[in-house]
Subunit: 463 residues, 2 copies
């Protein structure tokens, strides 16, 4: 038996004795030498096993005195198995259903790619690189803005997209969402009005609700937000912020046109609206489309980025690009609310993958694979009468209408009972006018259960 | 030359040519075969180098067309070297000075241990374990509460301390500070009153300021908060929350007595005050001291924990233990403001170290080492007339009075000019009545520059 196997065997023996009350709480564990002889292992193996049991909390160590069985805790509650059906279908519904679904449950409603589509080999290389990093990378809080080499890399990337910034205008954060949250803390007061697209990424609504903002939707067209409605709402409500995705808009997959971008910027200037442009889907574009930040510079646009969709959602890391005085204020807020900036370990792993020669190829093959999956999903949805609003240039979403204006929330609830997580339209719509629409993640539709469950859910009357 | 060395040599050659404008922006890079021949390397080495340069942003790749020199970005601003002296000495002053100080600058004002005191070997083992983790650990958002095995481990640890909770009452968060921030989002509205200790951890003030709470300090005695003042402030202001550290109070190092704990809980019950007990220094105690959560259960106490002080501050991970209905509400807030829960990569690294047989030994040796450092620091400070308010039972802080009631902020500014970061008393004091006190981190006083700079700073008149 290998050394690890022997240690595990000793640990298992002690656990069994504690569970069977052969060792009562507080009772001393067998002597190291005695148990070593009894089990035919070395004393050091027993010591290692006792130490690990102490680390687990199953036994306690009293310095100079030995090891004792710990008082048993309450019986651990079983993990909640299966989905929760009792929750209102609100903007947090899809998030929580998707995040807490068992791994094997198909999730065409979720907002990320399956593990097999992610750069796993590069992530493993980055983890091995982390094991060799400087001590301080593994132990310290790190600088408030995040590590300079990663900020330089991001500043260069911005420059390549026509946005001239220095690394001091890049602030690394715990995620793209945390970046927007910090901006809301800085600029939004309870009761302030914030504009979003209708439909928009559902979590913008959840986030703004947490800030007690009044949220107003601007209808999203195939070429961007309706510029007349934007100007009218801006004039009527004097909103503090407008939050949007320009590249491959979530959920519609639409692309902002240069003409609409220009009109939105002019209306924002006329009514002093700050714009948060969440560029999280940028790496999925076949070629760059117009950006508000690119047209405006950083005068009134704040750019948000993240690595969650293409690199890893597990390594939490996002960033803000903004004018210098705002970065200073955001740093203070990030220190006050998270103590410190981004995790240096997270930044090291992200920089490791971004600097990996294979990453660009990963992105290219991802775009090709998504093009196929998008066409394939549209073809498989058509016989059910589910049709895309438009065919996006890239990304993983299809924003679809259901046949005969079926109630998407009812369909999503029925599918959830059969173990498939969907994203019904109204969670994306401030005005709740997308009740017969649904967002599909084409990368999450490979599982054979998805189409039959969806077909059945379309026919089930709401309970 | 090793393969990695050859790739680096090709990268360096191209970078030099771009820098010297031998390759203008947009100009095509040398052919792969041509450069391979010229540099005596294989074509695959040149391809690898070009890919890495593309990942860096120094060159651009056009599919099917080849590699081109990128447009140069703005010159990267030099990293700000040296400390910022122009900032008011407020509760964020110490945080930002400490976090952004160059690594070699001594920081007796900071709130963490030097890398050499941390479990670096176990962290490297955990990083190697991460490289072998399941794909989904490396790529996915993870469950909203955090991974069940780590929550089980923490629930067992709570049980060992007399706090019977199931793993569903444990919520993993991005840090201990983020845990308190989520609680404030749930329970505190702008204008609400929150009680803290006076002195208290300075970031509590910064955090509460971000929530626009009214902060009132309760004088901290050698045995805990003054119970009469606590009851009086609670009666007068009906505070929503009281935030405190019970084990090894920050900054004083004092220990809560059972009698005071009992009185505080009764006063909190009488005036319906919720208590946040931040237990971040618990692992430094020689033996457990009374806890409000242990006495009260989780009726009105919320327990906060973190691994930043003993395991790693770079891996951002903290946790909340609270009653089930609050956990549900905190999950919604964490999803809305961070999307998802704790980073699965971070949780995997933390669980790896906690489950490492060496971790308990690390904690024991840390306690012994800190006992020596505390005595040693007190002895070295005495000749300067700097005296501890009390000698703590554990941890790394000494809360001291300066001689002749010198102005600690002036001393800290003078020391900063000489490259030493100190923590002046008033940043800890809501009432600003600790102007001649200073908190010293005894683990950060080994550098030979500290005592001479401190001695000089005590004699320098404020500019």
């Amino acid at each position: 038996m290998a050394e690890g196997g022997r240690t595990a065997a000793v640990m298992a023996a002690i656990r069994r004795r504690i569970a069977a009350r052969g060792l009562a709480p507080g009772e001393r564990l067998p002597s190291i030498r005695g148990l070593a002889t009894a089990m035919g292992v070395s004393p050091s193996t027993v010591v290692e096993a006792y130490e690990r049991l102490a680390a687990e909390g199953a036994v306690r160590s009293r310095p100079g005195s030995g090891f004792y069985a710990a008082a048993p805790g309450p019986l651990p509650a079983l993990a909640k198995i299966g989905p929760r059906l009792d929750r209102a279908v609100d903007p947090l519904w899809v998030s929580r259903q998707s995040l807490d679904a068992e791994p094997e449950i198909p999730k065409p409603g979720c907002g990320w790619l399956p593990p097999a589509w992610m750069p796993v080999a590069a992530l493993r290389r980055a983890a091995r690189g982390l094991a060799r990093a400087e001590d301080s990378v593994l132990t310290d809080y790190g600088a408030t803005r995040g590590p300079l080499p990663l900020r330089r890399m991001l500043a260069r990337q911005c420059a390549g997209e026509g946005l001239a910034v220095g690394p001091d205008q890049v602030l690394l954060t715990g995620s793209g969402t945390q970046a927007i949250d910090l901006i809301c803390r800085l600029l939004v007061r309870p009761g302030d009005t914030v504009l979003v697209d209708d439909p928009c990424y559902f979590n913008f609504q959840a986030l703004l609700r947490a800030h007690r903002a009044t949220v107003i939707g601007v209808p999203y067209t195939e070429a961007g937000p309706d510029p007349e409605r934007f100007a009218a709402e801006a004039a009527a409500h004097r909103p503090r912020l407008y939050i949007t995705n320009s590249a491959l808009h979530n959920p519609t997959g639409a692309t902002l046109s240069p003409a609409i971008a220009h009109r939105i910027l002019n209306a924002a200037a006329a009514h002093d609206v700050t714009i948060v442009e969440d560029d999280i889907f940028a790496p999925f574009e076949p070629e760059p489309s117009p950006r508000l930040a690119g047209l405006d510079g950083l005068a009134r646009v704040i750019r948000i980025g993240s690595f969650s969709k293409t690199l890893s959602a597990s390594i939490r890391c996002g960033y803000v690009v903004a004018k210098a005085e705002w970065i200073e204020a955001l740093i203070d807020l990030q220190v006050a609310t998270s103590f410190g900036g981004v995790s240096p370990v997270a930044a090291e792993l992200v920089a490791g993958v971004l600097g990996d020669g294979q990453y660009r190829k990963h992105l290219e093959s991802l775009r090709r694979r998504l093009d196929r999956a998008r066409r394939d999903a549209a073809e498989r949805l058509a016989p059910l009468g589910i049709r895309p609003w438009l065919m996006p240039r890239g990304g993983f979403y299809l924003w679809c209408s259901l046949p005969e204006t079926r109630d998407a929330a009812a369909v999503a609830r029925a599918a959830l009972r059969d173990g498939v997580v969907l994203a019904p339209g109204d969670v994306f719509s401030v005005s709740c006018t997308a009740g017969s629409r649904m967002r599909f993640n084409v990368a999450q539709m490979g599982d054979a259960r998805v189409m039959p469950v969806l077909a059945r859910a379309l026919t089930v009357p709401e309970a």
